[in-house]
């Protein structure tokens, strides 16, 4: 199996991890090195640049399918995936060939130099040679949206099996800003000593949500409790006189946070793990919303830099003096962290996070956790003092112990079909609370219910539509849902005057009528208390 379209089909035709591993493994052994490298790139989010607007693509596809554009849009709304819609609509090809990755990408890039007429001829010619799967893959490469149900972890596992290289080592090799253009299979994956790259971060150690009483974790003295901050998980690399800031989403965000420019440590190359937050004049991290203003900007105006200063709350040290510390227990890594922090400017952009006070007992931590919102935290993190720094999400040593969410009972007023997997169900709802006799919309949510519930609600929506606005249906205000959320903020952009963080449907309150839903006053009370 050396064609990417065959790999795609094999992965698509199974939900079993073992079968996916086998398919990937086979591909990594039979495809050309260029194809393999691009496969890794695509599966780890390093997509080729988008060369076409989706508007053009839709127009050409409708034309090739011989249908009017409105009908194309209806199909898209029902299928939920542009690449798939096009693949299904095109007339069947007379003769087809498999799709190979590297040549296709080279081809797409060559298109960037062409004018629209030539691009169109090019795209049509490709469509004419591919079967439905081939077209789907080609369209996905064209539109840049690629998900194949393969996590980076699964891909790394397959790669480890196919190459015999250790998995954690591969995970590290695949981090950072390598690109198929500037790398090759050998130097990235196989070489004994991969080219030292001072920008390469370590795979993040991730926590699971605590799903049983903390007492089950054993003696509290074996654990460390930290606040769980509501910022961006980040790694700060100070190496060879350079600074690199990586987000957990493996995005290099150094330029967006000039606060960290010019930092260095006398002790040598250092990597710190922590939470990026906006620091308030009250000496506390600010709500996530404040950070959002910063993330979106590639260049930061001076005023924003002053009003929303970014800080890294550093809680772990992964490298110090050029030494990889990840195998050391947390307790020892924290000593190195302290040494590193001592060598950084104070006050400066890197801080030790505000500590969790009190005794090492589950009782103390349980009651401390209840005060998390006052500390601008989401709850606690529990970390085993003897544990190494794992690559990825491994059960057992790191736990998130979050606060129970805030919640409010609201009436559904608009419904919209979901995307992808849920394209034919109504899953995206707008919710409102009462303000006197009127309903004021305040949140959108699309998750939290079971598929069976969504099906039931979909049938209800079809029968209770009052008006349609494109894909959105205004429904009879009748169904009540408990909306859970993590935080609440004033927001002049919203009619209700508030913005919620991570709203979701906690449950469908079939026991309540619309009249029994909560009010805007209720929402404002939550805002006053937690905003």
């Amino acid at each position: 199996m050396s064609a990417f379209s065959d790999l795609f089909q094999a992965l698509d035709a199974t939900t079993k991890t073992s079968a996916k591993l086998a398919a990937l493994g086979q591909y990594f052994q039979t495809a050309t090195p260029e194809d393999r490298l691009w496969c890794i790139a695509v599966l780890s989010g390093r997509r080729p640049k988008r060369v076409l607007s989706s508007t053009l693509l839709r127009r050409w596809a409708a034309e090739a399918a011989g249908i009017p554009e409105w009908l194309f849009e209806e199909c898209y709304a029902n299928v939920g995936d542009l690449a798939e819609t096009i693949a299904l609509l095109l007339p069947p090809a007379a003769q087809t060939r498999p799709l190979y990755l590297a040549p296709t990408i080279a081809d797409l890039r060559a298109m960037a130099q062409l004018d629209d007429a030539a691009r169109k001829a090019h795209v049509l010619a490709q469509w004419a040679q591919l079967d439905t799967t081939g077209r789907l893959v080609f369209n996905k490469l064209l539109t840049g949206g690629f998900r194949m149900g393969v996590s980076q972890k699964l891909m790394t596992r397959a790669l480890a099996q196919a190459t015999g290289q250790p998995q954690p080592d591969l995970a590290h090799r695949l981090m950072g800003n390598w690109h198929p253009d500037t790398s090759d299979w050998h130097s990235l994956i196989m070489a004994q000593n991969p080219t030292a790259d001072s920008s390469r971060p370590y795979p993040f150690c991730l926590a699971h949500g605590l799903d049983s009483p903390p007492q089950d974790l054993g003696d509290a003295h074996d654990w460390r409790a930290e606040w769980k901050w509501d910022g961006i998980r980040a790694q700060l690399l100070l190496r060879d006189g350079q600074v690199f800031l990586w987000s957990r989403g493996e995005e290099l965000i150094t330029d967006r946070f000039p606060e960290f420019a010019g930092l260095s440590i006398a002790g040598g190359n250092t990597v710190l793990d922590g939470e990026l937050v906006v620091w308030g004049s009250d000496g506390l991290p600010q709500p996530f919303q404040a950070l959002q203003k910063r993330i979106g900007r590639k260049t930061v105006p001076k005023a924003l830099l002053a009003s929303a200063p970014a800080r890294l709350l550093a809680y772990d040290c992964l490298e110090f003096g050029g030494q990889d510390l990840r195998a050391l227990p947390l307790a020892q890594r924290r000593q190195h962290l302290q040494t590193a922090l001592d060598q950084l400017p104070n006050p400066g952009p890197v801080l030790p996070p505000p500590a969790v006070a009190g005794a090492h007992t589950w009782e103390n931590w349980a009651s401390t956790r209840q005060t998390a919102r006052a500390h601008r935290a989401e709850g606690l993190m529990l970390k085993r003092l003897s544990a190494p720094y794992h690559a990825g999400r491994i059960r057992g040593d790191w736990w998130k112990w979050k606060l129970d969410p805030l919640s409010i009972d609201a009436v559904m007023i608009y419904a919209q079909a979901g995307h992808g997997r849920r394209a034919t169900l109504y899953t995206d709802f707008t919710f409102a609370v009462w303000d006197g006799p009127t309903l004021v919309p305040f949140a959108k949510a699309y998750s939290g219910l079971t598929d069976a519930e969504f099906r039931q609600i979909t049938a209800w929506v079809r029968k209770n539509t009052q008006q349609r606005f494109g894909p959105v249906r205004q429904v009879v205000p009748e169904l009540v849902f408990e909306i859970a959320f993590e935080g609440i903020q004033p927001s002049p952009r919203h009619k209700s005057g508030v913005a919620l963080r991570f709203p979701r449907m906690a449950r469908w309150r079939q026991d309540k009528t619309a009249a029994q839903a909560d009010t805007l006053a209720h929402l404002n009370a939550l805002l006053a208390q937690y905003g």
């Binding site: 698509d12 035709a13 199974t14 939900t15 079993k16 399918a65 249908i67 009017p68 409105w70 009908l71 209806e74 199909c75 029902n78 299928v79 939920g80 995936d81 798939e84 819609t85 299904l88 609509l89 069947p92 995307h419 992808g420 997997r421 849920r422 394209a423 034919t424 169900l425 598929d451 099906r455 979909t458 049938a459």
Partner: protein, 337 residues
Amino acid sequence: MTGRGVLTFTDRGIYCPAGDFYIDPWRPVPRALITHAHSDHARWGHGRYLATPRSLAVMRHRLGDITAQIAEYGQVLRIGDADVSFHPAGHVPGSAQIRVCVAGQVWVASGDYKTENDGLSEPFAPLPCHSFITESTFGLPVFRWQPQPRITEQILRWWQGNRAAGKTSVLGAYALGKAQRLLHMLADGPGPILCHAAVENTNASLRAAGVALPQSDVLTPECSAKTHPGALIIAPPGAIEASWTRRFAPTEVALASGWMGLRGIRRRRAMATGFVISDHADWPGLLQATKETGAENIYVTHGYTDIFTRYLNESGHSAQVVPTEFGTDDDDSAGPA
């Protein structure tokens, strides 16, 4: 206007004033003409039923002792002032389009139909008419079926692969129509076919009504991977559950439905494998059928009604949407959910 009023649309269903009867009504009526035995079309509680012999065989099994009269294909019956005849719809064995002629005006209610000959159902043939009531379950151009032999090949390859890996194949299919069609398609397959009791009951009714179905074994509590190694089990999707599949472990489960053409729906049903096969017409089939009736007026029910209607109107037909309450109990009609 031609023939307005031969059939009308009421809150109980399609009604013929000249003959005082309903077609596939969804609330109890004195006289019901039934296009086919799917439970969203053949409901309980009507005074008298009129249907084809094969539909009646299944309906009697499901609805018990009903008062019914047989309509053979092509036979013209005079009901009040209406001439009524039943014609093959190709949907499932015994399914019919119902042609109603009053004072020279011809209306045809298609019920559910498909244009491809599946080798088992009496093949669909278009009926010239003034007004045509069509379904539109798959009335979107993204639905285009592959020829049946291609699907047969795909399923056989899957079954063969499962056998080679020592696994039992479990194929989800609606008990009336799809299941028998699969049985017919896969009769020469590499191993024994077992039918879930719900499927086998329908098989028995149809065999008794003269449908030439291949031999099949019924799935009993005694059956297991030991007694039927490498078997293929046909079961209604709702009946695929841990209790009996465990006896056949390891298994591979797949679903046979037109909706499997959409990846999102396949994934929502947690199906790794889906075979795209439907007992309803695909987009080209719907267009071809409506065109070949030569109908001046087209009434669209059951499915993507708004979209199909708009498309027909823009391509020079005169079409309108008719609200109905079909589509709750046949796995394709039941829709994408």
